[in-house]
């Protein structure tokens, strides 16, 4: 993987990591009597189900919108689009949403990365792909 590409990806992961730590720290203080693992699970649930999928899709605005504002847009997309997709799929197949919610989030993450790779990385840095070397 090229150095520039690594830097881009590390930068984005750093952003998410800081957001996750702040989120966790805040709620661990607020829920100070709660079991450590319950709070941790809650934070991971928020990030895996909503925030990371939304953030991943907001990568399409890389370099057009700054990092913090992309994170905000990602939060909006995550909490708005993921439940809507579950609702839509449920209206079609009438299957309990809990059976596919994690896959919908995973699909959003992958779609975001694919779009990021296609529209940003490949365009700007020739020869880059998200495949692990």
């Amino acid at each position: 993987m090229k150095k520039e590409n690594k830097k881009i990806i590390l930068d984005e992961l750093k952003m998410l990591g800081i957001a996750l730590l702040l989120f966790y720290a805040f709620f661990q203080i607020h829920y100070h009597k709660e079991n450590f693992f319950v709070v941790l699970k809650m934070v991971f649930a928020h990030f895996y189900l909503f925030i990371i999928p939304g953030y991943s899709l907001s990568l399409i605005f890389y370099e057009k919108i700054n990092k913090i504002e992309r994170l905000i847009i990602g939060v909006g997309i995550g909490y708005g689009l993921q439940p809507f997709l579950l609702y839509l799929i449920n209206a079609i197949v009438k299957v309990n949403i809990m059976k596919y919610n994690v896959f919908v989030s995973a699909a959003m993450i992958l779609l975001g990365l694919w779009l990021f790779n296609r529209s940003v990385l490949k365009e700007k840095i020739s020869g880059f792909s998200l495949d692990i070397e």
């Binding site: 399409i60 605005f61 909006g76 579950l86 949403i97």
Partner: protein, 585 residues
């Protein structure tokens, strides 16, 4: 002498600047805010995420939201009401805003914590996130403007504003986040693909709670109107219509307006579930407006009505908000800053909608979220004052800004710190344990009658049993208690937690107001009778216990479950003859 004075001043400035740089003042002030915020939040949740029963639930709507979250968690079809919220009636269409409940249901499934805990959690989280997003938006204009606006947000955790967290504005809180994100979308609307995000935010907003989205779109209208006037686009187009081609390629306002229009189909696509019932819904709503029923199109919530927000509730902030509204109008008319126009339109239109109830008298509820929505007004007023003092203050202006922010935080904490909230106002661990028993042991086709409980006035609480239930009508029951005659026939009511839309066999959706039923039935026609054993009124307690004992002795009922507070009787002869009237001695 003169030289010495200059050197002294220089040294002082250097010291000040060095001090501020060393500590990164933005981070320090945010930490100060976070500490005070945590103090404000400490009255909620009792330091726990999970509780043995719905905690801090102060009104019935909270239970309704939890019921919908349970519904999303356990049911296969989210378009049709399950029997436990439709008296067992079939094909009742769900029109409720499902985004919030779906979020809570998933968090509950992922963590193993009950859905009711996530209703409060989401309320708090989304309010904080929205405040931070508005803060970030203001930060784009000016750092100080953002910080001056921040302390107002703390008021949302105090009565009467906390109504939004503990009484039942969950869906509005969820939509608040989408509205806040939409603000950013509006600022970047001229950029490629941002209209898709705006469409998603508006669509999710409609699915979360349409009212705030409608209000936000009135703000968008005001923003575009102001830009079109200020940039003289309308005048130029009237004079020379061919200019539109140039504008469509070069003018940020027109490009944004075009993209806004492009976002509408995406929003409509997300509203797909509501389109079949939209015409019926609008018809019933418009009929209500025309005949002056429950929702008047333009109404005014008088200040003496309880549990609604008025200016006095803002304390010393009310004057700053008034001043801020004037500054916002001034900015909207005279200033050229586009970002400022967005935020000024936003705050002005939410304030206008909330106080003049343009979208029906329920609109007044949005006032409970004013500490978040009117943040920009407080920021603008203080920023205006600060800017006028900036010149005389010269290089000490940064220090003054920090002092001013700390003073605001201090006065907000001193005057608006929330008092502790009732932990189990309606439900409690005993009630919840009884619900859990009913959930696990009563069959889906069996009917439960809720007889009496001092705190049973929030009927939505019983939907969380997830079983078909009916309630003895409390007023009629108390009348019977006063006569002292034990009588087995009760006036009961089952409530449908939907808007009475029914799907017919052909798939058509019709409005049927007659679905909600009232019945005069005997206690013996129900499979189970659920009641509190204790009451603060000894006469009621004696009457209820006598009634339950009579059912056991004379009507083949048996105790199926009981704890210190609740008893559930099982009817072993459903539909059998019930006991004769008897005077209670």
């Amino acid at each position: 002498m003169g030289v010495e004075t200059v050197q002294k001043d220089d040294l002082e400035i250097k010291l000040n600047a060095g001090f501020l740089k060393k500590f990164n003042i933005v981070v320090v002030l945010l930490i100060v805010f976070a500490i005070v915020l945590l103090k404000f939040l400490s009255v909620y949740d009792g330091g726990m995420l999970s509780h043995p029963a719905p905690y801090n639930y102060l009104a019935g709507d909270m239970f309704a939201f939890s019921t919908y979250a349970e519904f999303a968690k356990y049911e296969n079809d989210l378009t049709v009401a399950p029997p436990y919220i439709s008296e067992g009636e079939e094909n009742i269409v769900i029109t409720f805003s499902m985004i919030g409940p779906i979020i809570s249901a998933q968090l509950s499934q992922f963590t193993g914590v009950e859905t009711y805990d996530f209703i409060i959690h989401i309320n708090i989280l989304f309010i904080i996130l929205s405040a931070l997003i508005i803060f970030q938006f203001l930060y784009k204009i000016d750092k100080k403007l953002a910080f001056f606006s921040l302390p107002l947000a703390l008021l949302v955790f105090k009565w009467p504003f906390l109504y939004t967290i503990t009484w039942g504005m969950h869906v509005s809180n969820v939509n608040l986040l989408f509205v806040a994100v939409s603000l950013l979308c509006l600022a970047y609307l001229d950029k490629k693909y941002v209209f898709i995000v705006l469409g998603i935010m508006n669509g999710a907003g409609f699915l979360a709670h349409a009212r705030e989205t409608l209000m936000f779109n009135t703000a968008i209208a005001l923003y575009f109107f102001a830009r079109l006037l200020k940039e003289k686009i309308l005048v130029n187009l009237l004079k020379q219509p061919s200019l539109i081609k140039t504008y469509l390629h070069e003018n940020k306002t027109i490009i944004s307006l075009k993209n806004y229009l492009f976002s509408i189909p995406i929003m409509l696509l997300m509203m797909f579930r509501y389109i079949p019932i939209l015409s019926i819904f609008l018809h019933t709503k418009s009929a209500a407006y025309v005949y002056g029923e429950s929702s008047n199109l333009i109404s005014w919530m008088p200040p003496w009505l309880p549990s609604h927000v008025w200016f006095k509730d803002f304390g010393f902030y009310q004057y700053i908000i008034f001043a801020g509204a004037i500054v916002a109008l001034f900015c909207l008319i005279f200033q050229k800053n586009r970002t400022l126009d967005i935020i000024a339109s936003f705050a002005i239109m939410f304030m206008f909608n909330g106080f003049f109830s343009v979208l029906g008298n329920k609109t007044t509820q949005i006032r409970h979220l004013f500490p978040i929505l009117l943040m920009p007004l407080v920021g603008l007023a203080l920023f205006f004052i600060y800017n006028s003092l900036k010149k005389p203050l010269k290089n000490k202006s940064e220090i003054v800004f920090v002092i001013l922010f700390v003073i605001m935080i201090y006065f907000t904490a001193a005057n608006h710190m929330p008092s502790p909230i009732s932990d189990y106002a309606f439900s409690d661990p005993y009630t919840w344990n009884a619900f859990t028993w009913v959930k696990n042991n009563v069959a889906d086709n069996e009917k439960v009658l809720i007889l009496y409980g001092d705190r049973h006035n929030q009927e939505t609480m019983f939907y969380m049993m997830r079983k078909v239930q009916f309630r003895a009508w409390p007023e009629e029951y108390l009348k019977k208690v006063s006569t002292n005659i034990l009588n087995s026939t009760l006036f009961t009511k089952g409530t449908i937690l939907a808007e009475n839309f029914r799907k017919t066999e052909s798939g058509e959706i019709t409005h049927d107001p007659a679905i909600t039923t009232w019945m005069n039935e005997t206690l013996c026609s129900y499979n189970y009778v659920y009641s509190d054993k204790l009451s603060s009124n000894s006469q009621i307690q004696k009457y209820t216990l006598a009634m339950l004992e009579k059912l056991i002795k004379e009507n083949n009922f048996s105790v199926a479950y009981q704890n210190e507070l609740v008893v559930v009787l099982k009817n072993n002869n459903v539909g059998g003859k019930c006991f004769e009237d008897e005077v209670l001695v």
